[in-house]
């Protein structure tokens, strides 16, 4: 869940149409039309990625007159399916996957079970990955993969490139090679397995 209280605003006279904003927007809410960036106010989740990367300082974040609450109703989906999807992605349903919006795995799973097919759709529906824009791409990709979905990165975009390794997939040879250098792979697997299996604390909406 996220309360979106900001909106990107473009100063057209400064915009040179370089498309950097298009390439970094996690919800595809900004596009260059006729060499000027145009914001889709309905889609914008106020993350400021465009404002922070615009090379011409043509974008500012303005306060929305009416904040928008972005949230997926977890209770609208059979919770057993939510739990199953999360645990197949090796996540506890109540585990926080977006530290900025405190979005839990169950909300992303519910979004996917209700039809989200890409990280962009997940972010648009839940607000996850619209805070720091950095840390939560992998669990989102893991949940999509566990649901049997293979999303394609936005064409020519820099939003994301691909899922990467998890600790369960580290080759035994690598573990052995670096065993004396302070990397506790097998111990962390045991820890994360316990987290994945831990019972949920409550079913109220996240």
């Amino acid at each position: 869940m996220k309360v979106v209280n900001l909106l990107a605003a473009v100063a057209a006279e400064k915009c040179r149409g370089c498309k950097t904003c298009e390439k970094v927007c996690p919800v595809l809410a900004i596009k260059v039309v006729n060499r000027k960036a145009v914001v889709d106010a309905e889609r914008c989740r106020g993350c400021a990625a465009c404002e922070q990367r615009c090379p011409d300082y043509a974008i500012t974040m303005v306060k929305r007159e009416e904040p928008v609450v972005v949230k997926v109703d977890v209770s609208a989906v059979d919770y057993a399916r939510v739990e199953d999807l999360c645990r197949r992605a090796r996540l506890n349903p109540e585990q926080i996957i977006c530290y900025c919006t405190a979005t839990r795995a169950e909300e992303v799973a519910a979004a996917i079970l209700q039809g989200a097919r890409s990280p962009e759709e997940v972010s648009f529906l839940t607000g996850a990955r619209t805070g720091c824009k950095v840390e939560c791409i992998q669990p989102i990709l893991r949940l999509l993969e566990a649901a049997g979905i293979k999303p394609e990165p936005p064409r020519d975009g820099w939003q994301w490139y691909g899922r990467t390794v998890t600790v369960w997939e580290i080759p035994e040879g690598v573990k052995h090679k670096y065993a004396t250098r302070g990397f506790y792979f097998d111990e962390d697997i045991k820890l994360l397995d316990r987290v994945v299996a831990a019972p949920v604390q409550g079913r109220r909406d996240s």
């Binding site: 585990q95 840390e135 250098r181 302070g182 506790y184 962390d188 697997i189 831990a198």
Partner: protein
Amino acid sequence: MRPPITPIPPRKSQYGIDPSLVKTRVSELPGMTSVLLKELFPDLPEVIYPGEEGVAAVRKATEAALQKIDMSKIKPEHSVNILASHHGFTLLGGEPYAEMLKTLKDVIEARTGCKNIRLRAGVGLRFRETEEYIKRYGLDKHFGGKAIGVAPIDQGIPIETEIGTLYGIRKIYDADWIVHAHNSDVREVHFHRQVDRAVKPFGMSYARIETRSTYHQNLGPRAANFTARAIFDSPFVQGKFAFASFLTVAPNGIIGVDADNDLYALNDRVTQIGCRYYGKMMTLFGEIDECIAALDFPCPVVYVFSAGVIYANFAGANTDLYDLDLPLPAYTWYTEAFYGKAGKPLLKDIPPLNPAIKMCVHNYAWTGYPSAFFSEHIPTVVVGQEQADLFNRDPQNLTYMKHAVVAETTEAAMEFAYKTTGTRKVLIFDGAMGGINVSEPLAELLLKKAPAVSERVESELLPKWLRQRGVDR
């Protein structure tokens, strides 16, 4: 008791309130004093900065360290990217790190004849932070306009590693050679656990979001830093790596510059410094029974400094952050992730945030890092409505103020904290150089506890920490 040390001044930045709004520093209030770190731990090394020579000492140390570096691979017609990170600019005012970067450029140019030397400065979660530093320290001018900040959402480049494909930032690697210009300050011990500290930027400030998310979500709290080693060891990066140059830092200041063509040799030395000197400070902070933590430094909440220890690490000082047998510190992102909807950890053995912190007075700290976990679990008073408003506009902190209260002035915030907590012990995170600003009762406690802490670290903890990291031989 000594008078307080002048703290690092507020800094103009888009991530903090205007410096003119910081009317009072916590160290200016009655009852505050300072303790020199050498009084606590006489074995701390001598520093070259702060000192009489100023940053000239850093230039001299950099030039001396670079004498042993083999630069023969760099030819006049080549290009070189000097890779920097935001963190260095937060150390002792930032000038020492900036001076090392300038010296690196000058020496490489003089030794190799190469003129195409660029600065690429990575960031954490504040994507324009190093742009601000590049201007502040005149790095754009020194590098002839070839100095830029890079961010983890910039265009990426796939890097094939022994654990599969990871992703770097394309502009980090768009030169024939890279020079890794960093520092040995420990900062995020809760994340890296002093494992491959010197290598970490390859998995962080030089890396794309996919890699950073791997670190913080996919590998686990003690395996995470392997992402950095995997990238650094890749044929792609090894084919570009020229050498590394580090400001070596102890809690009391800059102790020198260390450079090496072998990053892992340098890494082992950094591990020794980090465990020995910072380990003592953190262990001492773990002895504090109760206190008010006062944040008063131009950095995000988690990164404000006191004696080289950041607030995030003090929040975990009830546990031994260096002991790798401990899976989860009281604060790290994995720990935060494992708090369920009832507000309690999903596993019973997850330690709570340091119960010695009775209240946090947030006098001055920046946005740009998700910090609501702290205000949710530690009673927090924020000084000034302008600062509260800034946090309410930060996409990473939309709920920080949901859990905090606002005081009009620093004095009012501290009075409130004194009355409601009942403690007069105050630890100030204001970046004081060479010592720490604290209240008198806390100064007494620290001076009393330090000798036994030093002895315990030397005889018991340090040997274990070094053994766990394979650097005890």
